[in-house]
């Protein structure tokens, strides 16, 4: 069957068709649509695939490992920075190995379209010493899910699949199987010692993992996804990874000059040493490395080829050091800049149009009140967090003074208060709070830190499109349970008509010398619109 699918959707359908039993994920651009697709698929036709959102990437990774432990196939999905959150579980899953197939999907965001950095998840695969797959197109992404689960089960290791924004969020026609493979039966591991990482057991596991490296390399060398084509001018060679291959082919198609180089197309790691050796044996004197993200391969390959071979790429300036590749940057590296003769330029009068909080959004009213109260103090500091409300940094609010990573608002406000800052505010969304803010709030409680934590509760995970939020309906109970004094857990409704009340509540909590929480609760207007429409 042929379908027009986003890369993310191809991955999701691929996983379903490979006999998936559970997907574990926290929403994050550009990975969100994978889990959403599986949730929608479950609504249409129940296969009993577990697909409820996890509280964060670490709980997701651990849940998936548990499902794998019981012999079933599990998928974990996240954006690249989610890998940092689940790193402990991820790294140690490489030491335990797997029972049922376990695939970890990391969606990287070079050019930071919707992210705070452009870290490259391939480093994590290398760090954990496990195989990594990087599809070059949507069809390959679909096919590779099946391959990934098989590989995971045959090598007894988690597999990291890495995609980037252009792959995740681009549609193409994908040919799928007619019916999904059966899910695995429930079957606990025969040797549970493998999953008990006492040092004595872990050393044995780690030795096995080290020994398996040669197998992983051989698997890469034999993989259908890694192909080497000797060119008529083999002194020049091009190594592409993932979707970089598409830009090479695009430039080749438009330009007859590029056809003589040898091409090594890589979509599976560890690097296939034999293919690289062959490229050198065929006379490669210069290798241009095209890869999306950080110069991972460009660095590694320098240690794999003789020093007489020139390795070029992002580190040498042949390709841009940062940002995603484009057909234009690849063309420039291959044949030089295009001659622009259309005369079309962007007129100078065209101005930027930054994203903004929606009209009518509760975060707006929350910031309006907070800004007024903050201005009553000479030196208030507001620590922000990750979500739509990060846009409070921009015009017209210019409200927040920091935004680093999930949950940092609370703990940075605490650290600032510890250092002597007064008043110290944290602004965090409901979903981000349950993702990574709760433990920080416990730190605040334990030292009675003088902070005001504003939870801007829109009852959803808004920025990624309105997914369920883990603590909806229970935020007061969670805060009280963590030890915040109940009289300092306040709830307000962020609406213009309540402005005076909200400001008064904030003033009272600033005046309290200790940890307080103010929950500003009003449904996200995007999800509200959807809910009203559904009711009609």
């Amino acid at each position: 069957m042929k379908h027009l699918l986003l890369g993310d959707e191809a991955i999701a359908q691929g996983a379903i068709d490979a006999g998936l039993s559970g997907v574990y994920a926290y929403p994050g651009t550009p990975s969100t649509e994978i889990t959403e697709y599986i949730q929608l698929s479950e609504k249409k036709q129940t296969r009993g695939i577990f697909c409820r959102w996890a509280t964060n990437e670490k709980t997701a990774m651990e849940g998936a490992l548990g499902m794998s432990y019981m012999g079933k196939r599990a998928l974990v999905c996240m954006k690249h920075v989610g890998m940092n959150v689940c790193a402990d579980a991820f790294m140690n899953a490489a030491i335990t190995g797997v029972n049922g197939g376990l695939v970890v999907l990391a969606a990287d965001d070079p050019s930071m379209h919707s992210s705070q950095n452009e870290q490259d998840s391939r480093f994590y695969a290398k760090f954990a010493m496990i195989p990594c797959l990087e599809p070059s197109n949507q069809q390959e992404a679909y096919d590779m899910m099946h391959y990934a689960f098989d590989l995971s089960e045959s090598l007894r290791t988690p597999i990291l699949m890495r995609v980037t924004t252009r792959m995740a969020h681009s549609r193409a026609v994908v040919e799928t199987m007619d019916a999904p493979r059966e899910q695995n039966m429930l079957a606990a591991p025969e040797n549970t010692n493998h999953f008990i990482l006492l040092p004595a057991f872990a050393r044995k596991n780690y030795a096995e993992l080290v020994e398996a490296q040669a197998d992983f390399v051989q698997t890469s060398e034999e993989s259908l996804y890694n192909t080497y084509t000797k060119g008529s001018n083999p002194e020049k060679a091009i190594l592409t990874t993932g979707i970089a291959y598409n830009y090479l082919m695009e430039v080749k198609g438009e330009n007859g000059k590029v056809k003589s180089e040898s091409v090594l197309k890589i979509a599976q790691y560890p690097l296939p040493k034999a293919l690289i050796d062959q490229m050198v044996a065929d006379g490669a004197k210069e290798i241009l490395v095209m890869e999306e993200g950080q110069p991972v391969v460009e660095e590694i390959i320098r240690g794999m080829v003789p020093s007489t071979v020139a390795v070029k790429g992002r580190l040498t300036g042949d390709l841009p050091r940062m940002g995603e590749l484009t057909p234009d940057s690849v063309r420039k590296a291959l044949v030089g800049d295009i001659v622009l003769n259309s005369g079309f330029q962007m007129p100078e009068i065209v101005v930027g149009r930054p994203p903004a909080l929606c009209q009518g959004c509760g975060h707006r009213d929350m910031y309006a009140a907070l800004n007024e109260v903050a201005r009553e103090h000479e030196n208030a500091k507001i620590f922000g967090d990750i979500g739509c409300y990060t846009l409070g940094a921009l015009s017209p609010f210019h409200a927040i003074h920091a935004c680093v990573e999930m949950g940092a608002s609370i703990t940075m406000a605490k650290g600032a208060a510890d250092a002597g800052q007064f008043p110290a505010f944290a602004v965090i969304g409901d979903s981000t709070f349950t993702h990574s803010g709760m433990t920080g709030l416990l730190d605040c409680v334990n030292s009675n830190a003088n902070v005001v934590v504003l939870i801007s509760d829109n009852l959803t995970t808004g920025m990624t499109g309105g997914q369920d939020s883990a603590g909806t309906g229970r935020l007061e109970a969670i805060c009280c349970g963590l030890g915040v004094a109940p009289e300092h857990v306040r709830v307000v409704v962020p609406l213009p008509k309540n402005m005076e009340e909200i400001k008064q509540v904030l003033r009272e909590e600033v005046a309290y010398n200790g940890t307080s929480v103010v929950i500003a609760r009003r449904e996200c207007i995007q999800t509200l619109k959807r809910h009203l429409k559904a009711k009609k």
Binding site: K2, L4, L6, T29, P30, T32, E33, H113, S114, N137, R166, M167, H169, S170, R171, A172, V173, I243, Y245, N246, Y247, M249, E250, G253, E254, T326, P327, D328, R331, I338, L340, N341, S342, G343, F344, Q345, M346, P347, I349, V350, V351, G352, R353, P354, P355, A356, L357, C358, C388, L391, S395, M463, T464, G465
Partner: protein, 190 residues
């Protein structure tokens, strides 16, 4: 056959629906297709674009190179100009004439329109007005724009209409009819 199209607008205006209809018609024609979309933060009222590539031969890159686009279809006139470096020398701009002002420093609309008109091959359409005249709701303004772009797509009018019928049939005959009316209004607008 090969058409590289940049769809532009402001987050929330509905450029992806235009892409969906063209995509459906192209698929039915057996064409290859790639469509890079923007999700995430920019959807909150920021500038958004989508690269839609159609071809009778396999397509590799998800992105259109500089000076590679045959058409810029934009729901907002300033947004059409943002992607001019991607337009081929003989390429077309098909854009709504009505500014979407959600920033304090939006330029003089007359200057914007003058820059659009400076491109030889341009079509300016008051999509909201035409939607209203066609008896279609304001949300169908994007279908008016699609109608105006059909002559440059190299896909027959009837095949686009068939795509609309397939896509909107789930929502009932009235929705199909108003979208078809909107497309027709745009198609005849020239």
């Amino acid at each position: 056959m090969k058409r590289d199209i940049i769809l532009a607008g402001v987050g929330g205006q509905g450029i992806l629906s235009i892409a969906t209809v063209i995509g459906d018609a192209a698929l039915n024609e057996g064409l290859y297709l790639k469509q890079a979309e923007v999700h995430g933060m920019s959807q909150r009222g920021g500038d958004v674009q989508s690269n839609l590539r159609l071809s009778s031969d396999p397509i590799y890159s998800d992105l259109i190179p500089l000076q590679g686009a045959d058409i810029i279809i934009s729901l907002e006139p300033m947004e059409a100009l943002r992607y001019l470096p991607y337009l081929k020398p003989e390429g077309w701009i098909v854009t709504s004439s009505k500014p979407f002002v959600n920033i304090p420093n939006y330029p003089d609309i007359e200057d914007i329109l003058a820059h659009v008109k400076a491109v030889k091959n341009h079509v300016l359409v008051d999509v909201e007005e035409l939607a209203k005249q066609a008896g279609a709701p304001a949300q169908a303004a994007n279908m008016v724009l699609l109608g105006a772009a059909i002559p440059m797509l190299d896909i027959d009018y009837d095949k686009i209409i068939a795509g609309v019928q397939r896509i909107f049939s789930r929502k009932g005959e009235a929705v199909v009819a108003s979208n078809v009316a909107a497309i027709e209004a745009g198609y005849k607008a020239k």
